[in-house]
């Protein structure tokens, strides 16, 4: 079991750690009491106040429902690796959604203008155009027409 973990949340990175009778958040101790039902977290009691909470984890992602809102956290170790792997790709050229590559409109080695449509993603019968964030040359097209992509996957490497 981990003693400490780094999480990337909506407000940036946080370090959480184990503590007697609670948890530490960025080194600060928060006394709390977990309430469970059916093996699931249902609430946290913090300073006498019961806060309804639900949480679920799949892989590196932790999904939390708290007081009517939903939050997503990512365990950073792997998130950092992913970012490093994607570093040479423009953020605008990562798949913004899971989908299928419907059309590739450019070839490797081709020069493109800023704003030019490079490929078309399709999901749930909607089309989404991926346009070039700047002028440049297509170095690599890691996905082919018809390929399924996950959100965050690099689509075009631009030099």
């Amino acid at each position: 079991m981990r003693r400490e973990a780094r999480l990337e949340g909506p407000d940036g990175e946080i370090v959480v750690g184990r503590a007697d009778g609670g948890i530490t958040i960025d080194g600060r101790r928060l006394a709390l009491d977990a309430v469970e039902a059916g093996g699931e977290l249902r609430g946290l009691r913090v300073e006498g106040r019961m806060i309804p909470v639900r949480a679920a984890r799949s892989g590196d992602l932790i999904h939390v429902f708290c007081d009517g809102r939903t939050f997503q956290f990512r365990l950073v170790s792997s998130g950092a690796r992913r970012r490093a792997a994607a570093a040479k790709f423009d953020a605008d050229l990562l798949a913004p959604m899971p989908g299928r590559v419907r059309r590739l409109l450019v070839r490797e080695g081709q020069s493109v203008a800023r704003g030019e449509t490079l490929l078309i993603l399709e999901a749930m019968k909607m089309e989404h155009e991926i346009r070039s964030p700047r002028a440049g040359r297509i170095v690599r097209l890691p996905v082919g027409e018809g390929a399924l992509v996950d959100a965050g996957m690099p689509l075009v490497e631009l030099a």
Binding site: V16, G17, E36, E40, A55, V64, R69
Partner: protein, 491 residues
């Protein structure tokens, strides 16, 4: 005839919705499912289920031959198409007829007449129903420029076979014209198998107000009042309500009459919807007709105390509409919010597995859903997950119930638009009822709110305990009487 076994040619929440009414009527239900949907809720809501092919819609829910084969194999005597997929496909209605099955919907000719949006416009004009100014797409560049000149920008390029907001592109100037036409054609080809598009003037700040119509085979056509569906993203509705805050009894009567004329112009039978744009000057224009049960039909059901699916089945059996349907008086107000698997700001689809799930409950709340904990939401299908419907004696009560319901709704594991829906129904402008189809685009960006410590703590517990929320912080609970924090069980 009496329908005994009904095949539901759809999936998700609408398949579940239809199955419920059919079962209440003592009709056996047959679900169909693609490979991706073997574990889906709708399959288990029906008495029988038939596998019809691969995950891609063209291999399953859009395959007329496989659906007819499934109906034959399961010895169904009727087919309900739901909405989307083949619901407005005249060839499917004809195939169902030819197979000797009862089609729960309007005659194929009425579907075809309304389904070609260009032909529908022409028919409506002949019937004296006002239509939005528009034009066919000319083949030459000069023709295109002339049409644009005549109608004026902004324009919409729309799929002739369209519906559900698909195959539509807005054009604000000549530079985007060709690209918009190409994109609308591709999307239309993919969604409807028909790449024909046409042009329509984009009205400025209209409301979207539609009328539910219902007709039996004996010549009775009634309207069941309006639904306002002005809150839209990407030309798709996300919040609907009845009555519309914009209508008074006189305008309602005039629009209702026009809706009935529109239905009669195509010899309509069954449930349908006539959509209008309502301009700020209170003029209204026929937009299109939906020859099927509408996604937002529950709000009409809630204020009128009706079951429209039951009525569809009765009309298909050849029965007359009840006499009292001519004098129905709505009670109170009802709202619907569509919960989509999509990013609340970019509207891009999201997929994944539903890890934790709980629907809102309580007085005045109805949830029509097609998911549960464990459901895999795939990118192959429409992103609608559920519809939250609330009603109350007044619009204010219905809104306050919706605010509560959306706060209670737990869907973890798949991104949803719940936070956007909450911002809509919690806004003052929505409460004031000053809406139009561009309103959502003007809604202020979400105020950044800090993440509550409890949410961070919960994420921490999940991480530090390797996935389960177990015990790290379950401190002194072993003997509640020994607790140090002052909490004691109540006896």
């Amino acid at each position: 005839m009496k329908i005994r076994r009904l095949l539901i040619a759809n999936r998700g929440e609408i398949a579940v919705r239809i199955a419920r009414s059919a079962r209440e009527m003592g009709i056996e239900t047959v679900a169909v499912y693609s490979e991706a949907d073997a574990a889906a809720v709708h399959v288990r809501t029906c008495d029988r289920a038939v596998s019809i092919g691969g995950a891609a819609p063209s291999d399953s829910y859009l395959s007329i031959s496989r659906l007819i084969e499934a109906a034959r194999a399961s010895r169904a005597d009727a087919v309900h198409p739901g909405y989307g997929f083949l619901a407005e496909n005249a060839a499917f209605a004809t195939a169902v007829d030819d197979a000797g099955l009862c089609w729960i919907g309007p005659p194929a000719a009425a579907i075809a007449a309304m389904g070609d949006k260009r032909e529908a416009r022409a028919r409506m004009e002949r019937a004296g129903v006002p239509v939005v100014p528009g034009a066919d797409v000319p083949s030459s560049a000069e023709g295109l420029a002339a049409a644009a000149q005549r109608l004026g920008y902004p324009l919409l390029v729309k799929a002739a076979a369209g519906g559900g907001g698909k195959g539509i592109r807005a054009v604000t100037g000549a530079a985007e014209f060709q690209r918009a036409i190409a994109a609308a054609r591709r999307e239309s080809e993919s969604a409807f198998g028909d790449a024909t598009v046409y042009l329509e003037k984009l009205m400025v700040r209209p409301r979207h107000v539609e009328f539910q119509i219902f007709a039996d085979r004996r010549g009775t056509t009634v309207h069941l009042n309006e639904r306002e569906c002005s809150i839209q993203r990407r030309h798709q509705k996300i919040v609907e309500e009845t009555p519309s805050p914009a209508l008074d009894p006189q305008l309602r009567a005039r629009m209702g009459e026009a809706a009935i004329s529109a239905a009669k112009a195509v010899s309509y039978v069954g449930a349908g919807t006539i959509e209008f744009l309502l301009a700020p000057d209170r003029r209204f224009y026929f937009l299109e007709a939906n020859t099927r049960l509408q996604v937002e039909h529950p709000v009409t059901e809630e204020v009128l105390g009706l079951d429209l699916v039951r009525a569809q089945i009765r009309v298909a059996e050849g029965r007359a509409l009840p006499e009292r349907w001519r004098r129905l008086v709505p009670v109170g107000a009802a709202l619907e919010c569509r919960v989509y698997a999509e990013d609340p700001e970019t509207f891009l689809p999201r997929s994944g597995e539903v890890l934790s799930y709980e629907e809102p409950r309580g007085p005045g709340i109805r949830v029509d859903s097609g998911i549960e904990g464990g459901t895999r939401v795939s990118i192959d299908y429409d992103p609608i997950l559920a519809k939250v419907v609330t009603r109350g004696p007044t619009r204010e009560v219905a809104i306050s119930r919706m605010r509560r319901a959306l706060r209670e709704y737990v869907i973890l594991g798949v991104g949803t638009n719940l936070s956007l829906l909450r911002r809509v129904v919690e806004s003052q402008e929505f409460a004031d009822g000053n809406l139009d189809t561009e309103w959502l685009g003007r809604l202020a960006a979400p105020r950044p709110e800090p993440v509550p410590e409890a949410a961070i703590a919960a994420a921490g517990l999940m991480t530090l305990n390797g996935g389960a929320a177990k015990s790290a912080a379950r401190l002194e609970a072993a003997d509640p009487w020994l607790r140090s924090d002052g909490w004691r069980p109540i006896r």
